[in-house]
Amino acid sequence: MSRPRLLPSRLADRFALASSALAAVAVLLVSLASWWLIAHQQTLADRAILSREQRFHADNVGSTLRALSSRMSEIAGSTILATGLVDSAGKETYLSPYLNGIRQINGIPVQVLFADFEGKEIAANATARFNPVQMQWLRRHLPQGKALAEVLSGDVGPELVALEPLRYSRTRTPEGAVIYKIALRDINLEPSLYLTWGDGAPGEPSATLIPAPPVFAPVKFRVSGQMTSARSGAAHPQYLAIALIAAAVFCAVFLAGARLARLLTRDLSRLEAFSSKVTSAALIEQRAPEGGTLEVASVASSINKMLQRLHDQHQALLVEGEKLGSLAEALKTADRRKDEFLAMLAHELRNPLAPIATGAELLRRISGADARAARTIDVISRQASHMTKLIDDLLDVSRVTRGLVALELANLDARNVVSAAVDQLKPQIDARRHRLLVDMPAQPLPVVGDEARLVQVMSNLLHNACKFTPDGGEIRVSAQLVGGEVVLQVCDNGSGIAPGFLPDVFGLFTQGSRQPDRSQGGLGLGLALVKHLVELHDGRVSATSDGLGRGATFTVTLPAAEPVIGEAPGAPQLTPPSGSRLAVMVVDDNIDAAQTLSTLLELEGHDVVTLFDPVKALARAAVVDCDVFILDIGLPGMDGIELARRIRALPGKQRSVLVALTGYGQAKDRQQSAAAGFDHHFVKPVDAQALAKLLKSVRPL
């Protein structure tokens, strides 16, 4: 599961991160709460201070108003004013001086006017300036005979105007009044406070009602105030302190959280370290530490149990592995032995064939004109040849599967390969009356390959076509250059291949459906060999068929080579047969093979010395002159290679022709035999005609 690496990989770091995140959140919350609390307390304190200031000033103003009211009541009740009502003639002498003496109440300038019952001025103090509205107000309210106050607008802003009626105990009507006023701006308040009155507006901040005397009570004077920002300014340093404390707390909690996380996950870390060690190294013998916590102990216990099981299974696996190893080794050995056995078997089967074939040939030469004997000899010869072919294939397969085949690569013309194969199979094709059609271009088809092996491939395919096509069928062989590749095709109209069998057609030991009579015969080696050999040439082979009875087509594709300029080196020009009588020594420990070959050579007119032991042969070679030495390679005591080298080392034997005989022709054998001084190499059973042809080209010494 891949996940973006937002989180640290270590559990302890995650715990630390989580604890620091929690700490951060907690610190943030606590800071915010503190912040809010302080702000709240600050607001409350400000409100309380404001309220206290409001109360203080309200009391002050109230006291001033009381003083004003009391003083004005006193004035209104004074006998001087009462006298003025009945004796305004005296106003210049005592009334005005009396009123003029009233200038201030508690330091607040006051204007006083003494009016008659109609509100007309009788006398006033020097500062009295009542505007018409105020006088009108006086006249409107005077008849009620009650002390009254109202805030009216004046020249200097709002003014508190009040009237104090003059009552005469002997009349029922107010006989005059003292009207007085103060300018509200003269009432000193803190700058942040202000005076309000009347019915408060809904949004008015908290105000303190001024404890006013009855006359002013209806005015509802209040001291209002706004909490100014200056009040809360003092809180900022505290916020800084909170921030610092919060940061310090955060650091402390973070460090503690990290430390705690490591402490808490220590046993887990140990377990983790152990488990990584266990997986990295084969330390299943060890056991996980118990751990400090229940969970870790449980996990450790589980791990230990698993380790134990792992250990047990590991032990069992080791045992099984040892068993398997020895089994594989045994199988390999068995396989190798099988291969060796097959090779040996082929070799050993082949050896008797040589004298049989040679014997048959001998019989043909010596038996005269007896027709029956001649047919029998043909049968023997043909069957020996067939068997040789079977054994050769078997040997080839054995060598190919063991990787023992080495190609002798040369620049070839594929047309020659096809021609050689056709020539090889021609008798067989003719025997079954097949119609052979060969289609080849005029130009060469250059390939790099082992001619013998490629001929073997094509002849195998032709052999198959011939074999699986009823007599009188048609076989088409073509070779052409297609897009840088040389395509060789063998096509027949024979029994075809069942579709289900097609994929396995190139398998070893696979054969098409067998006829009850095994008329086709064979071991199922041919196509497997074809496939292996073509692949050794970096080519490929394929088979197609339209089904059973509808023929089959096999196609071999090889990489085309650069065309060779000039004539390819042809086969060495054989010297014309001399027909000379040659001195020949045949050395072979297979007495039958040696004697039949010697007999055959003697029939050809040569002088033959036959020996079965290499030591004796060497000794003999030293004393006789032989033109040709035919040596079996697989000799007891001293092999043919060694024998050839020694013979070549003998005086006068440098020009002798040395011919090697081996059980089966191999490039290695050929190289070894060439290096040992052999001039020619023949594979058993010796092709009598080929040998005769060779000997004919040898000139006697």
Partner: protein, 366 residues
Amino acid sequence: MLLGIDGEFGLTNSTSAQAIEQGVRIATGEINKVGGVLGGRKLEIVTKDHRSIAARGIRNMQEFAAAPDVVAVFGGRFSPVIIEQLPVLREAKLPFLAVWSAADAIVDNGSQPNYVFRLSLRDSLAMPFMLKSAGDRGFARVGLLLTNTAWGRSNLAAADRFAAANKQPSIVGTAWYNWQEPSLVDRYRKLVAAGAQAIVLVANDDEAALLVREVAQLAVADRVPVISHWGITGGRFFQEAGPALKAVDISVIQTFSFFQAKPPALQRFMAAARMYAGIERIEDIQSPVGVAHAYDMTHILAKAIDLAGSTDREAVRNALERVTRHDGLLQRYAPPFTRERHEALGTQNLLMARYRDDGVLMPSGK
């Protein structure tokens, strides 16, 4: 034809305005009964109340002046109110008849022609008379306790003139009081402490009643007689002073006493009084001087109107100076007024009186 009365009708405990109205009503009753004036025109009375407040008096007077049917206006007890009214009177050329108020300045108002006529006491007569009364009673030293009004100042001026001319009694001090004073006794005692053997009081009924009640509280030795101007008789002084009156020696100056009236005039008056005011006995007459003065003055006015032959105010004013003779309740006025003299009464009319136990004011001789 209207006769105005501008008086202190609404003043609690005051009886002076009502007394004046009684006098005018009784007289007009008589006059109207015999055909009125100017050959049959009835006299009617219009009253206005100033409650002793000058401003109200001024307004009243303006209203009277503006009413064409008002021939003349009778004034009330309070000199300060009338003094305040003088400019209006001068302006309106409305004959004004002072039948109680005593301040000199009311008549001596400096206007010519003078529309003010007085049939009443005059301070410059009353003060010397009271001082002389004190002296006669053997009080060598008196103190003046005065109301702080034009009336009080009028009396002080009269006292000063007396003192300048007479050695006995000497004035040891003057104390002023204002209206609505809650207490007067301190001033009284101060004057006594200054050596006053008697106190000459210029006051109205309420202040006098207050003083009497306060003085009655003093030790007998601390009490000195009070010789009072007649303002105290304009209201329910006797009732307000109550039992304290027995503890205080208080005599009051008067111009007239029904008990000393000449029988024919008294009989005629009482007949009319019975008819028009429901008064059966002279003891029932409260504020007797007011009733008597107004009664006589109304008759004199009626004669003047007839003499003038119209209700024209100036003509009436002039006629008032030309009424040659009237036999009134107080005396024979022959003539009541002259061009130079707008005072109908003189020193010969003065007397001192005391309250009888039943509240009836009786002449006391001294």
